[in-house]
Symmetry: C2
DNA sequence: TTGTCGACTATTTTACCAAACAGGTCGAAA
DNA sequence: TTTCGACCTGTTTGGTAAAATAGTCGACAA
């Protein structure tokens, strides 16, 4: 209520986020090892030791960056699933969001694969936690689809997991393997089309499974 | 006809294959850089220079190893497609074979990912050529399924490519990302199940697409 | 002619050391 | 509460000498 009462902490939080943003940019462009704390400090107009007032280690700062990206994604995803639509529509929307996150992460990482695996190793637990939540959401959508009679699967959890792995696999493949496409954009457009086809196949496959049970 | 006429070259060919086999084992266990030509030579009871009589460079030997593995796979695949069965059955058999090749390559490479990407970079053209042929075969099976009325796709080539990419993506993911599974065998069993589910979804999806056109 | 190898070359890896660098700490001062 | 100068310490870097390895050549043998 009183603006003054919030001033001191608000300022600290604001600075924390400025640091986070500067770090995100640096890490994204140059990768974790090539970024120095001095540089990040300079970006936000501070000296190195001041950074340690907000983040105890370089790694914790990095993890904070990852966590913030993931939180944003999860927020969007949750909002999406909360909206009252068909399970199919939700699955397609999920693909949309997933693609966007892939795209963003790739955009920010000059070096593709390298950064990706680097991130994975530095904060594998975060990634695993994200996948866990992502899996849970897909799973719940599949269950919704089953309840509402849109489609069915013999094993919704297995299907959800496979779907998740397929999407990540496609993305990983794109990063790990030099595609024929010269332009990065082309490669991503192809990824997009493949993700769409996969989700279509899964939806149609699940519909047909359901109708077999009729 | 005359056994004598074949003796000299036959012996040479046999030795060539002994070298190939020794090299395969070494490369598989230790990876390309950690293997020396002396070691391979010793394995087959020769001195290093003799190897160069059969293979002009270390890399050519390595490529010969890869090529032989791939040829075997392609042979099996072709034999499979030649057999007179339904397109569905062929797709499922393709998954079988593909899985086996994944499994074998992984079995032979102590270091998983590392070796995989190493191989890719050293003989990317071979891998690309293999994928090209693999793609062609999947494509032809999809076309067969369409002709025979088993199922249909709006874009068979795109579907074939996506299927290929999905399978490779799943495998790649397994290599690149430390899974929760402690035992490697578990991880591969999971891969197997996922590959099966994907092909099921694709088959069902394509069936339903076909029946929509009815 | 086909196949083998000992001895040699050229290039890459390794081993090592010193200097620079970068993550992290501390106490003082706004 | 927030900032920073000075300091500490483990790691990376650069350069070099020694070792190892891919690849060559000419001689020798089947």
């Amino acid at each position: 209520m009183c603006p003054r009462a919030e001033t001191a902490p608000a300022k600290a939080v604001a600075k924390e986020e400025k640091i986070l943003e500067a770090a995100r940019k640096r890490f994204a462009y140059f990768g974790f090892p090539k970024v120095t704390m001095d540089e990040i400090a300079a970006d936000v107009g501070l000296a190195k030791p001041s950074l340690y007032y907000y983040y105890p280690t370089k790694e914790s700062l990095f993890r904070a960056v990852i966590a913030s990206e993931q939180t944003r994604f999860l927020g969007n995803l949750e909002a999406l699933l909360a909206r009252e639509t068909s399970a199919q529509a939700k699955l397609r929307n999920y693909v949309d969001l997933r693609y966007d996150l892939f795209r963003e992460l790739a955009n920010l990482s000059a070096l593709g694969t390298q950064t990706y695996t680097e991130w994975k190793s530095l904060s594998g637990d975060l990634f695993r936690a994200l996948e866990e939540k992502e899996l849970g959401m897909i799973h719940s959508v599949l269950l919704q689809g089953e309840r509402s009679g849109e489609f069915g699967t013999p094993d919704p959890l297995h299907t959800a997991r496979t779907l998740l792995h397929v999407m990540h696999g496609l993305r990983l493949r794109l990063c790990a393997i030099p595609t024929g496409a010269v332009l990065e954009n082309e490669a991503y457009a192809a990824l997009r089309k493949e993700m769409d086809l996969v989700i279509t196949m899964f939806i149609d496959g699940m519909k047909s499974h359901h109708s077999h049970l009729h």
